[in-house]
């Protein structure tokens, strides 16, 4: 509702029209508010962020008293931010903020930190945005309390589905404490496009689909543009994005809903941004390049349009999440509509199965490519089936003497039900077992006299053993031994 509209309007940096798909009643208010907050400011992402923050914080939160203390402090901050950002109409923003805050149990951390950060915000807009430090690779927040800012941004992102605690955690660098939260927040900002998508997925349970869809794409776009402007070190931004990409997973969303959402979102978004999103959403490099390009342009232009163009990355963000079963997260730079996500899931399943097959089929480790693998598998299955045929023929000709033994073995085997004692005297057993069957062979095997003779010889030699064996055969243990012999050989 409020959040949806808030974030969607955020995303429309240049779009004054609230998304028609907005469902909340307060959408108009928030839309208006945000239009004023966001699009009138020719600022970079800082401005957007600030306005977002202000709108979030300044809300008096009538409906959500739980975070009142936080809101008070935030209100101060917002006040300062307002002056800086020339943003008005905090009331609607505050509503959104309150709505958002209510979603999360405690996105905000210690209130005392709020005071500190509020003080810090006095430094100006420049202080608010995160500056990437090329040397450290971390984002240096001019705030004394970066932690608070990180938390705020986290809460913001949560509200908008753009950030998430996980997202922050991922990007926290093991660097100076001051830089760390800033880095995390800045990373969250810079990587919002990809991370936002991910985060939205994670926080989807809190938001309706529409919210994440709209907010993610829209808000992320703005954040992306704004942060990209500030990012002085492309490498770090690239790293951040890489991290976000590496962390991306796939979440499977209800196809229809996603399709609907994306369909509704796309028309809502700026048309040019949509087109650009589709174009640029393919590869990380493309996004990064565009982001880098945008940095230069946005610095100079500072338009909502640039934010929109940078929002192309939005389509890497998949729309909401919720419900059911397999949750996949669309990777950065990939289409987010339901069909492509489902296809991606399917493709991953297939590749998993192919890998499993690769392990089964010997000699397939070097082979790459589905077609060659399939060919190898087919050949292997055919060869196995031919082997079965050949062996059955061999068995048919070779072992008519098996009759008695087989009859005995299964009967005893039932008692054991799988328990296999170690084969004792396997050679003896083998010799003893088969000669008894050879008795049959004499009569049944017309093939060769030699075979029969051999059988008889074997039988004669093994007679004393055979007698013992036959007695032993009646016992389960000996039966097992004989069976074990057979089993052991092929089990090895």
């Amino acid at each position: 509702m409020e959040k949806e509209t808030f974030w969607s309007s955020n995303g429309h940096s240049g779009d004054v029209q609230p998304p028609p798909a907005m469902r909340s009643g307060s959408s108009k208010q928030s839309a208006r508010c945000f239009h004023n907050l966001i699009w009138k400011q020719p600022l970079t992402h800082d401005a957007d962020l600030e306005s977002a923050l202000s709108s979030l914080v300044s809300s008096p939160a009538p409906s959500h008293p739980m975070l009142s203390s936080d809101r008070a402090v935030i209100g101060e901050l917002i006040g300062r931010m307002e002056t800086i950002c020339n943003s008005d109409e905090m009331s609607t923003g505050s509503q959104c903020h309150s709505a958002k805050n209510s979603c999360y149990s405690s996105p905000l951390n210690s209130p005392p930190r709020l005071n500190l950060s509020a003080v810090d915000h006095r430094h100006g807009r420049g202080g608010l945005p995160v500056l990437l430090n090329p040397d450290t690779g971390a984002l240096c927040m001019p705030f004394s309390d970066d932690q608070w800012f990180a938390d705020r941004t986290a809460s913001l992102s949560r509200c908008g589905g753009m950030f998430s605690p996980d997202f922050e955690g991922k990007f926290r660098l093991p660097e100076t404490p001051v830089q760390l939260p800033g880095a995390s927040s800045s990373k969250s900002l810079t990587g919002c496009r990809t991370g936002g998508a991910q985060l939205e997925m994670e926080t989807r349970s809190q938001f309706g689909r529409l919210l994440t869809l709209q907010g993610a794409e829209v808000g992320d776009g703005q954040e992306e543009s704004s942060t990209s402007d500030r990012v002085t070190a492309e490498a770090t931004s690239l790293n951040l994005r890489g991290i976000s990409d590496s962390n991306s997973k796939k979440r499977k969303l209800p196809a229809k809903d996603k399709g609907k959402e994306s369909a509704t979102n796309l028309p809502n978004m700026a048309e040019n941004s949509d087109a650009k999103r589709c174009k640029l959403g393919k590869t990380n490099d493309a996004v990064e390049n565009s982001g880098a390009a945008e940095e230069a342009t946005t610095k100079t232009e500072q338009n909502g349009d640039t934010g929109q163009t940078s929002s192309k990355d939005n389509d890497s963000k998949p729309p909401e999440p919720p419900k059911d079963y397999i949750h996949v997260r669309a990777r950065r730079g990939q289409a987010t509509d339901a069909h492509s996500l489902a296809e991606r899931v399917r493709r991953e399943k297939i590749s998993k199965r192919m890998k499993f097959l690769q392990d089964l089929v010997p000699g397939c480790n070097k082979v790459t490519g589905k077609a060659v693998m399939l060919d190898e598998i087919i050949n292997y299955v055919q060869s196995l089936q031919q082997q079965v045929e050949f062996l059955s023929m061999k068995l048919a000709t070779l072992n008519p003497q098996f009759e008695n033994m087989e009859n005995l073995l299964p009967k005893e085997k039932y008692q054991v039900s799988g328990a296999m004692p170690g084969p004792l005297y396997p050679s003896e057993m083998a010799i003893a077992a088969y000669p008894c069957a050879d008795l049959e062979a004499q009569f049944l095997n017309p093939q060769t006299q030699t075979m029969q003779l051999a059988a008889m010889d074997g039988l004669a030699d093994a007679t004393p053993q055979l007698a013992e064996f036959w007695e032993g055969l009646q016992t389960a243990a000996q039966i097992n031994f004989g069976h074990d012999h057979l089993c052991g050989k092929y089990m090895e």
């Binding site: 399917r346 192919m354 045929e389 048919a396 008519p400 009859n407 073995l409 069976h483 050989k489």
Partner: protein, 157 residues
Amino acid sequence: MYRRSFKDTKSSLGSPNPNFSKPMVALRFLRALSLVRCSGPGARSPSYRARGIRRAAYACMAASAGPRRAWSRALLRKIRRRPGRGLRRPRAVIRRRRPVGGGDPLEVALRRLVPGGGCMEYCRLLEEAADYVKCLAMQVRLMQTIVDSASHVNSID
């Protein structure tokens, strides 16, 4: 005849055992072998016996794989249907859940190879193929062992 024996073995051995119950497979197979030999050791030609042994091998392989696998069910169905069962059960299994487009010749070949592969989706087909390959390899090893033992016995005698 050995069909009946297969059923007996399956029922007697009871619970659906895991795929890799080699002793059970061996047991079933040996029992089936003996039954095959019983049926017509002297009267039948080796080729007839060979066919019977092959059917026995597939049947016990499918039986040991368990009813949870689509390929084992299809294989048993194919084996048991062969004697020309005229009466089709009214509650016939819905055979073609999804008729395959069959654009990929490799996929089509795989479907033909794996029992019951005509009705499955591609993902499922790969899964069943993996299981089938596993069981087939096990069966081949078992038969090879039996042949080796038999020939070993014969050779030493």
